[in-house]
């Protein structure tokens, strides 16, 4: 198609004729088709970075940014300026760490779920169990909250069940108390995510060479020995990748879950970083401060991601990203 480019030896002439060649035109034409989509990516992912400027001004709506006073690092200093603010930030970080930490502590559950589900011989039963246990993954957190509200309300079935079995003396107002908030959030996360998380491991298990098990059986290995020596080592790479990713996402607990479950009773323990930024920014209109916190969070997240990637390369020999 572009023989003219090869025929000329001088660089300048080569450039001009290759620009006019059909190939180059075609490549640019493809880019033009992609351009609208790339613009969308720019608008929604890169343009918002401009919003970081707000953290450096005393932004007061409805004034435009150019009309507001420059604040420099004031908002960043504000975060550690008075004891109340420091206490709040430490509180929020403690909540974030606690919930992320609990998440990591329970990250093995989907793997074990998959291992023991595979031990159920009947394919039909397995399929039914899988269908039922992955269902909670596809409902919104609003629905989860609605379910929690229905089940754990004062007159709800959980209270009725527990009092009739005499496990608790009288009905507990589960939703209006702050004991074990972290545990509750983790458990709801597990209810919603375990079945779905197990799918990945089920696929990995299905891919394990059957001959390994047959050889082990010949050597006299029992069920648990096979799990420990064959299944588990095959699954650990997948588990490790997911673990590294969750460390990289340590500060990102999510928003929906904590927003719907938050109320005046559990604020102390449920306000994770994302929720705090929302409450601060959109709730109290402290846009500049919330942006400053967001910037810090982004930096820490990038550092975590780089570290996690580096760690993965050292241990596994390949990076996660």
């Amino acid at each position: 198609m572009s023989n003219s480019a090869k025929a000329n030896s001088e660089p300048n002439v080569k450039k001009i004729s290759s620009w006019h060649s059909g190939k180059q035109k075609e490549r640019f034409k493809l880019f033009l088709i992609a351009l609208p989509f790339l613009c969308l990516v720019f608008l929604f992912a890169y343009l918002p970075l401009y919003g970081w400027l707000y953290a450096f001004y005393y932004y007061e709506p409805p004034l435009k940014l150019s009309q507001c006073t420059f604040a420099g690092l004031h908002w960043f200093q504000y975060l550690v300026s008075n004891t109340v603010q420091v206490k709040t930030i430490l509180n929020v970080l403690r909540n974030t760490f606690a919930i992320s930490g609990l998440g990591i502590l329970t990250s093995w559950v989907p793997m074990v779920f998959a291992i023991f589900l595979t031990e159920i011989k009947s394919g039909k039963v397995r399929k039914v169990i899988q269908t039922c246990t992955t269902l909670p993954n596809f409902i919104s957190w609003v629905l989860v909250y609605s379910i929690a509200y229905a089940l754990f309300s004062y007159n709800g079935p959980i209270n009725n069940l527990l009092t009739s079995m005499n496990i608790i003396p009288s009905n507990i107002n589960w939703l209006a108390q702050d004991n074990h908030t972290w545990l509750a959030m983790t458990l709801w996360g597990m209810w919603k995510g375990t079945g779905w998380g197990a799918i990945l491991y089920m696929a990995a298990i299905a891919g394990i060479d059957q001959e390994l098990y047959e050889a082990a059986a010949v050597d006299g290995a029992g069920r648990f020995r096979m799990i420990w020596n064959i299944t588990l080592p095959e699954l650990l790479p997948t588990y490790f990748v997911l673990l590294v990713l969750s460390i990289a996402n340590f500060l990102n607990n999510g928003f929906d879950q904590y927003y719907v479950f938050q109320n005046s009773f559990n604020q102390e323990h449920i306000q994770v970083l994302d929720l705090y930024v929302y409450n601060l920014g959109i709730g109290s209109s402290s846009f500049s401060l919330a942006t400053a916190i967001g910037i810090l969070k982004s930096f820490v997240s990038i550092v975590l991601l780089t570290l996690a990637n580096r760690a993965s390369k050292c241990i596994r020999g390949s990076t996660v990203i």
């Binding site: 075609e26 992609a34 011989k121 269902l135 957190w141 629905l143 609605s146 069920r223 959109i282 942006t291």
Partner: protein, 304 residues
Amino acid sequence: MINVVKRRSKGDVVFNIINYTVFILITLICVYPFYYIFINTISSNDLSANGQIIFYPQQIHFSNYLRVFQLSGLGTAAIVSVLRTVIGTIAAVFGSAVLGFLFTKDMWHKKFWYRFVVLTMYFNAGLIPQFMTFRMLGLTNNFLVYVLPAIVGPFNVILVKTYIESLPPSLEEAAEIDGAGVMTVFSKIVFPLIKPIIATIAIFSAVGQWNSFSDTLIYITDSHLYTLQYILYTYINQANSLASMVKQVSGNNTAESITNAVTAITPTSIKMTVTMIVVLPILFVYPFFQKYFTKGIMIGAIKG
């Protein structure tokens, strides 16, 4: 693992009993909440509000469903939810398919633009900057805020690109030799071939659109653009608005509401009925499309 252990020792039997029991319990824990809410919506509202409907429905009636759309705002919210699910999914499928396809071709600075798109998966400008940007673009209180950001999802683009790259190139090349333009190649040859991955993307996108809540929360204050998820959340949390709504719905049949405790609307019945309406589409569609979910995870996992 499944077919190997042939000997049935006593330990095996015990293990199987425990394993089955545990999984039956787990399955019940996953399914019972939906069952509980459903039987409450078709049982006497009086008994339901007192928490007496636990294992089976009693005094069955369907008036909750028949009357629930008399609640102001619910019908609009339902329409908004359906519209955003349909339009948003079509947009996402279109965007990821076209862009994913273009990244498999020789495009001007393809590597750079590909990294440009994929990099966005790893950083987030933050809630407030995003809010500011959307406001500046005129997307607050605008239906397009549900659609436009969803058109290019980096993960979906990766899925499509990977899938197309796994197809034999001879098909595309044959068409190009015959003089087909690039978009003709896409629409007539590539798109029909990538239907499996498109189906996966469509389903995840539809579920995501249906379940989406925080975008309504942050960007929308016009009640005509509220989605079902948002309305449900307000119902659960605001007893006051519910009380007035109860009056509004049963106000049409005051005589009935006083005398008939079974069908009289209560805040509990509203919350539960709306919950069922919001979850029913997922419940219906899910078992049929389960295989697409599994497939999508595997393709995504291989890439990731």
